[in-house]
Amino acid sequence: MIGDYTYSEFGSILAMQGFAGLILFSVFVLMALGLAIIFGQMGVINMAHGEFMILGAYVTYLCSTFVSATIPAFFPYYFFVAMILAFCAAFALGVLVEWAMIRHLYKRPLDTLLATWGLSLVLQQTYRTVFGAREVGVSLPDWLIGSLPVTDVVEVPINGLFVMALTFVITAVVYLLMYRSNWGKRVRAVVQNRTMAGAVGINTRMTDRMTFGLGCGIAGIAGSAFTMIGSTGPTSGQQYIVDTFLVVVFGGAASLLGTIASAFTISQAQSTMEFFMSGSMAKVLTLLAVVGILMLRPQGLFTLKIRR
């Protein structure tokens, strides 16, 4: 017996908390993937990353409203189209922002941080003007509603499972793109030695722009997935930005595996502690632990010793 619970009840609670942690993990990974590409590969701080994510969420919301009003028969499948549109919208905005702002600031990383913060304010207000200050939610297709019973007491919601599956697929695609494709090789070449990469004929400007766009596009997909488990408001993105940066930095900025591992650690720690204390204290302790560890090991968890 633990407190008032039997062992099997306690186990079930842990399993449910664990599953809640896995959903949080998926959100972290989805948001952190885009950030890890932009920050880890390009060294650019994009404080508006959350707003790119929310753009994807709003695109999904528009799709869902449009489809249910015009072609209800298509509704069960609209999400896949919405996801692609979300990617395209965020990608296009990302490319535009890179062209207008970021490319002038590559040598001033601290200033990028301030400029993208300004961008995030502008985007937030744009969302508020267009969609209103209230949070909006999408209606889920039937097949995503409900939960799967795993044991008598443990049930897992289907939308959560779907988001996790989606996270897995997207992560796999990003991995293949970054580490197994020619394009990924080019991005990493530019990161490691810009001049040399330019000299061997890589269009470094275009690579930068596409990389930034891709990072933003992934944020758009993240936002799209986000609508499956929560509602969207103009400032929803800002709430996650600090956590996500910590996830990326904690994982060692340049490592995809590190990002995933650190997202897992942070989300599980937080959701497990939420069982023992209030949500806010769980978050305080988790973030404090992360900051503390980063102070002791500033290079993050997964990095190589490099020659300075």
Binding site: I45, S280, L287
Partner: protein, 392 residues
């Protein structure tokens, strides 16, 4: 090519290499600022507006610290709200205890403790509140608590050579953590409402308009004093060293300086100045809440300094006044446009005017003024208030 064939003409003339605290030009700027905030504002503004300006001036303390810390030393802290807030909370705790005397709180189930503690079923004053009965302790704590925290953060980060964007993100995370903590621990901190209903300072009612008028002058006077203190640091060898660290960190290190110690000092110094501003904020506004601690206020304070000019102390003060004036005007008339304006300001300052108002002044206005004989120095060269742009 300089040839060394010139025979040594004796020792250097000391006056040629003097490093004055202010040039004549600097004193002129100082006088203009002093007249503006000590004479012009009090004479022309009504009590409500003057109190608002007083509030803005408390932010200017933060901006001053940021000039030294960010502009000169290249350390961008996105957590200055932490120190502003801690200073403000220290002051608020003292005032709250004074307002919570057993006579004033006789109707509570536990008289003599702050009302929000009583509401949260706390029956005893927490240990960390107890010392704030003493005004002397409070005055020390206002500066000491934020500086100690800054020292811990700075020591952990700078001795491990963490800087740049990493430092910015970590300080931002700490600001977020502190906000969540203050909101979460309602019984000890007053939660999201903060510490409110502050009335008297050592028996003196701070809510009367005379008191507010006097507090404005206290704030303005301390701000001018802080400006002089910052200037004193800037013209010292330390002031030149931190600029050298910003531009050529390795050269400074291999000239025998412990670079981390200098960064820690500057960060702590900025924290201390910000905390004084926070305490004065509490006094003038009559409450303190977590909305002045978190990510958003912290980064807004950076933009005050950026608009004024990240390298100029005077610019920082004017920038703070201007942005806040714009903010209150905008949000009264077009609240929905304010975020657009603020966002646009961030982008414009970074992209087009990295030296802010001070840079514009030095490029476009000062050259004309310099033609007036005798206004500035005889040999008025480059303005020493504007240090050229960071190399990164």
């Amino acid at each position: 090519m300089g040839s060394s064939s010139h025979a040594s003409t004796g020792t250097l003339d000391k006056s040629r290499f003097a490093n004055p605290f202010f040039t004549r030009e600097g004193w002129l700027y100082f006088a203009i600022l002093a007249v503006l905030i000590l004479v012009v504002f009090p004479l022309t503004l009504d009590a409500f507006r003057l109190n608002n300006v007083g509030k803005y001036l408390t932010y200017a303390f933060v901006a001053l610290g940021l000039v030294l810390c960010w502009g000169h030393s290249g350390i961008l802290s996105l957590g200055q709200g932490i120190f502003f807030g801690l200073g403000g909370y220290c002051m608020a705790m003292f005032l709250k205890l004074e307002a919570s005397s057993p006579e004033n709180t006789a109707i509570q189930s536990t008289p003599g403790i702050p009302d929000f503690m009583d509401w949260n079923q706390i029956t005893e004053l927490p240990w960390f509140w107890a010392p704030f009965h003493s005004f002397g302790f409070t005055l020390i704590a206002i500066v000491a608590v934020p500086m100690i925290l800054a020292f811990v953060i700075g020591f952990a980060m700078f001795t491990r050579r963490v800087g740049g964007v990493y430092f910015a993100i970590i300080t931002q995370a700490i600001a977020a953590i502190l906000t969540i903590l203050i909101i979460g621990q309602q019984g000890y901190t007053g939660g999201v409402n903060g510490i409110t209903d502050l009335r008297t300072l050592l028996g003196w009612n701070i809510r009367t308009s005379e008191a507010q008028f006097i507090l404005y002058f206290v704030c303005a006077g301390l701000l001018l004093a802080s400006l002089l203190l910052c200037r004193a640091v800037h013209v010292s060898k330390l002031g030149r060293l931190v600029i050298a660290i910003r531009d050529k960190e390795d050269r400074v290190r291999f000239s025998g300086y412990d670079v981390a110690a200098f960064k820690i000092f500057v960060f702590c110094f900025a924290a201390g100045i910000a905390a004084i501003g926070g305490a004065l904020f509490t006094l003038q506004v009559g409450f303190m809440s977590p909305t002045f601690v978190g990510i958003v206020p912290s980064i807004e304070m950076v933009i005050f300094a950026a608009v004024g000019g990240r390298l100029s102390f005077f610019g920082a003060i004017y920038g703070t006044l201007l942005v806040n004036y714009a903010k209150s005007t905008f949000s009264e008339t077009f609240p929905e446009l304010w975020l657009f304006a603020m966002g646009g300001l961030f982008i414009a300052v970074v992209m087009a005017f990295p030296d802010g108002l001070a840079g514009l002044y030095h490029r476009h206005v000062r050259p004309h003024l310099a033609k007036i004989p005798g206004l500035f120095d005889r040999q008025s060269g480059r303005g020493r208030d504007v240090v050229a742009q960071p190399a990164e």
